[in-house]
């Protein structure tokens, strides 16, 4: 870094245009940070009064707009279950695809390029379209057909459920896992693989015993990022599993569930008295943000440790 970078204002001389440019771009940066601070600050300040142990640990009654009985335990449970089930599906597929791309595929071959284009496109599909896909494919196609073949009375699989919401989210977060895993795999020096192969290990042995264990922190980071992305998503689960109200916690994968993000939407738009609901609303937002940010923080710490360990390694 040269000296100029440490003092952006002093290095511009007397050029007013340059000074203005630095001021404007600096203002844009500050604006983003200020807005972020306002959002987080207002959530904490307005959310804390209604935030209590009872709030996060009890099941609410039907009228969850009332400050005295509002609670979010079923939503926390619902959101947790749906992201955990999602992880079970997305991790193996995402990791194996990344292994294919880094270890087996020839870089630049037409097939690899199509796969990469597919991953990029998957990452850009609107979340509501994933919701439609979940409804059209998982519920109306797979679910309804399962019902037909199982021959049970009434819809069992062909209706919104935890499993369908989780699968929809797994499709949505697949690119996150693939990209993170690929990065982790690429960060491993080729020397490590070559040493393993030179000692007589086969390619599969090298991947299973050398490459993947070394990439584990990065792979876990990908998983956590996928979870934190999915935890706050509402649009994909609107038609695939989220319930407005349930008296009980979900027990089977074919049950519907209450969800933190969806509950925030309900509180914000369907309250009979928004003034009265605002503290509950902010407290629920606080719970969701605590959940996603703590997951993000874990991912950032794991990544930092991994980088440090790697730097120490060679």
């Amino acid at each position: 870094m040269n000296a100029a970078r440490r003092a952006p204002f002093h290095s511009q001389g007397r050029d007013p245009v340059a000074l203005l440019g630095v001021a404007v771009t600096g203002f844009a940066t500050a604006l983003i940070l200020v807005i972020l601070a306002v959002i987080l600050g207002s959530v904490v300040i307005q959310g804390l009064p209604a935030f209590s142990w009872r709030f996060v640990s009890t099941v609410p009654k039907k009228d969850f707009f009332d400050v005295n009985s509002a609670a979010v335990l079923p939503m926390i449970v619902g959101t947790t279950i749906r992201v955990l089930v999602m992880t079970v599906f997305v991790m193996p597929i995402g990791v194996i695809t990344a292994v294919y791309l880094t270890e087996y595929a020839r870089a630049g071959s037409p097939y690899t390029r199509i796969v990469r284009a597919a991953i990029n496109n998957l990452a850009g599909v609107p979340s509501i379209v994933f919701g439609l896909f979940g409804l059209g494919f998982f519920i109306n196609f797979i679910g309804k057909n399962l019902d037909r073949f199982s021959g049970a009375e009434g819809p069992n699989f062909g209706q919104p459920a935890v499993i369908w919401a989780s699968l929809t989210l797994a499709v949505m977060t697949l690119p996150v896992v693939i990209v993170a895993t690929e990065e982790a795999l690429k960060a491993i020096t080729p020397g490590l693989r070559e040493a393993s192969l030179a000692l007589g290990a086969t390619k599969l042995q090298t991947i299973l015993r050398i490459v993947l264990p070394n990439a584990l922190p990065g792979i876990l980071t990908g998983g956590i990022l996928a979870i934190s992305r999915a935890a706050g998503e509402v649009a994909p689960i609107l038609f695939t599993g989220a319930a407005y109200f349930m008296a009980d916690l979900p027990k089977r994968l074919t049950d519907q569930f209450m969800d933190l993000g969806y509950h925030i939407y309900v509180l914000a738009t369907q309250s009979p008295n928004i003034e009265q609901t605002t503290p509950i609303l902010f407290a629920t937002v606080l719970v969701l943000l605590l959940l996603t940010f703590s997951l993000n923080a874990v991912a950032i710490i794991v990544r930092a440790r991994m980088r440090r360990a790697m730097r120490a390694g060679h």
Partner: protein
């Protein structure tokens, strides 16, 4: 990293490789499945097979025997599967029910030309129509009611309006921040800003919607003094905020991938740090900025929760920024629950989804292509 398979390739190795290859197909398969299964529900609309007219031709149940099976199936709107499972009596009952519904239509609609119109035809979907009781042709989205009005233009305009406001806010702010962070700021500032942006990216869109609903809406109304508290402007700004992290990181990535030698050459020739960034680095990275805008467009037009909560949800045709509005995404989210599965409303909502998928498919493709080319050029490949 194309290492060869171990020199003693055993069957297990080959099997594993085939398995791994098969799993990698899943990404391509998923894109195709999304296209097929979202598109599939919309196909009847595209082919003109749906009919939303209130008054439909009635065939008396007594005439069942004179009809071909295929005609009966089409008349009753059954799938081949359903049709096979039905016996004659069920078919008669269905036809009688059909007759009855037709007889129940209120007298006031019997002579209304709109009641005979199939409103899922393209001219009703995209062109203005003079409905009974209106004094000029208008674009109207009113899917619930006796006569279903499915004009998509108010929603398309709503989506574009909100997206453009979002981009007009997000692109300058993100680009400014990207220039500052990558070119001008000290490393210490950068260490503060980058996690901040990551934090912003971690805020779920439903939370951004709540922020817009409760704080931003009141603040902006106080400043600009417009009539409706929730409108396209509020939703657009909040939408822009959700797109800032993505546009910032793509732009910042493009700016930092410009070789240091460009800046150093400019500085050696006597340019100030700002001049080097503005006149040398930025032009070199401009395709990346353009790609960030294109991808940001795809991100904004596909965002649901912010618009659903903060735009006021009025599906009126208006180009005014300060009117309440509604986007394609918000319409799907708000109305799917009440749409009958397999009905025309349901199919039209899937048509909106297909439209969104097609638009984002194109923007993603174009955006990635530009970034790929830019990286190649800056790294001296081609």
């Amino acid at each position: 990293m194309g290492l060869k398979r171990g020199h003693q390739a055993r069957p297990v190795e080959l099997l594993a490789e085939i398995l791994i290859f098969t799993v990698s197909l899943s990404t391509i398969a998923l894109i195709l499945l999304i296209f097929v299964f979202v598109g599939r529900e919309a196909i009847p609309v595209l082919l003109g097979k749906t009919n939303s007219a209130l008054i439909q031709p009635v065939i008396p149940a007594a005439n069942l025997d004179q009809l071909q099976p295929a005609e009966v199936r089409e008349y009753l709107g059954l799938t081949a599967q359903q049709f096979q499972e039905m016996d004659r009596e069920t078919l008669v009952a269905l036809m009688e029910a059909r007759e009855e519904t037709s007889n129940d239509i209120p007298e006031s609609f019997r002579n209304d030309p709109d009641a005979q119109a199939n409103t899922t035809q393209f001219r009703y979907l995209f062109r203005p129509h003079q409905w009974t009781g209106y004094d000029r042709p208008e674009y109207i989205w009113q899917p619930v009611g006796t006569i279903h009005k499915y004009n998509l233009m108010p929603l398309i305009v709503g989506s574009l309006k909100v997206t453009l406001i979002g981009l007009l806010f997000a692109v300058p702010v993100s680009l400014g921040a990207a220039i500052y962070v990558s070119q001008l700021a000290s490393p210490r500032v950068r260490e503060w800003v980058k996690p901040g942006i990551e934090l912003l990216a971690g805020i779920p869109s439903v939370v951004m919607g709540v922020f817009a609903l409760l704080l931003l809406a009141s603040l902006l109304q106080k400043i600009f003094g417009y009539q409706f508290r929730l409108n396209a402007f509020v939703a657009g700004i909040a939408l822009g905020l959700t797109a800032v992290p993505m546009i910032f990181s793509i732009a910042e990535d493009a700016l930092t991938s410009v070789p240091r030698s460009y800046t150093q050459a400019a500085l050696a020739l006597g340019a100030s740090q700002w001049q080097a960034s503005w006149q040398v680095v930025l032009p070199a990275a401009l395709p990346g900025v353009f790609a960030a805008t294109v991808l940001g467009f795809g991100r904004c037009i596909g965002e649901t929760m912010v618009v659903l909560i903060a735009s006021g949800n009025a599906s009126t045709m208006s180009w005014s920024v300060f009117d309440s509005t509604r986007s394609l995404t918000a319409t799907i989210a708000a109305e799917m629950a009440e749409a009958v599965s397999g009905g025309h409303h349901y199919r039209i909502l899937f048509l909106l989804g297909t439209l969104l998928f097609a638009v984002t498919f194109v923007t993603n493709f174009v955006g990635d292509l530009i970034i790929h080319r830019l990286k190649g050029r800056l790294e001296g490949r081609g």
